[in-house]
């Protein structure tokens, strides 16, 4: 498809388990973002990849969170030893990486930790 694709769309996991969330950006987009949004809250920036530059990880809330982007395309966000406060929708977006260009969001991965 032409848009940003995220999987799974919904995930229920037990506290303490690890989860992986996947983002397939728009082809050719060099910039890729992960955001987190808890119920009724704003978007919390997590991490930003831009081309071959070192990723901006300044938004990752703890060392349980990590992300990688293989081959400059698909990205995986990993949450280790999940906690109930990790329950949120995780949104991925991609863009051309240039100032003033629109970023395009996926539909998100809803994570529920029970």
């Amino acid at each position: 498809g032409a848009g940003v694709s995220q999987s799974p769309s919904n995930k229920v996991t037990e506290k303490g388990k690890d989860v992986e969330l996947r983002c397939d950006p728009i082809s050719g987009h060099t910039a890729l973002y992960w955001y987190r949004q808890s119920l009724g809250q704003g978007l919390e920036f997590l991490i930003y990849f831009q081309g071959n530059s070192a990723p901006d990880k300044s938004g990752l809330p703890s060392d349980r969170f990590s992300a990688e982007r293989t081959g400059g395309s698909v990205s995986t966000l990993t949450i280790q030893r999940t906690q109930q406060e990790d329950s949120a929708v995780y949104l991925c977006a991609s863009g051309s990486g240039q100032s003033g260009n629109t970023i395009y969001f996926g539909e998100g991965s809803w994570l529920t930790v029970v």
Binding site: L43, F45, Q50, A93, G97, T102, G108, W110
Partner: protein
Amino acid sequence: SQQGEEDPQALSIQEGENATMNCSYKTSINNLQWYRQNSGRGLVHLILIRSNEREKHSGRLRVTLDTSKKSSSLLITASRAADTASYFCAPSRGGGSNYKLTFGKGTLLTVNP
């Protein structure tokens, strides 16, 4: 931080009325974008205004930018129930390829039929 802050946090109006949402930011910017979000889904880009522009229109949307006050406003005219959503601003400093967009808490607009 170049994150914008939207105001008010929530706005409820009747169909047909105009809705005005505001955004304030702290750093100098190259451009500012507005996005819309329906019910916790992905955000959708609405409009971009550059720092050398003062006003821009797109359909029923009007965006203004006052760089001296570091503020922007989004006006939706003749609102419809389908405009019910959260609206976010995203100021950007630009500066080449290494920029990122951050978002505030947004304005939740409810348009009552």
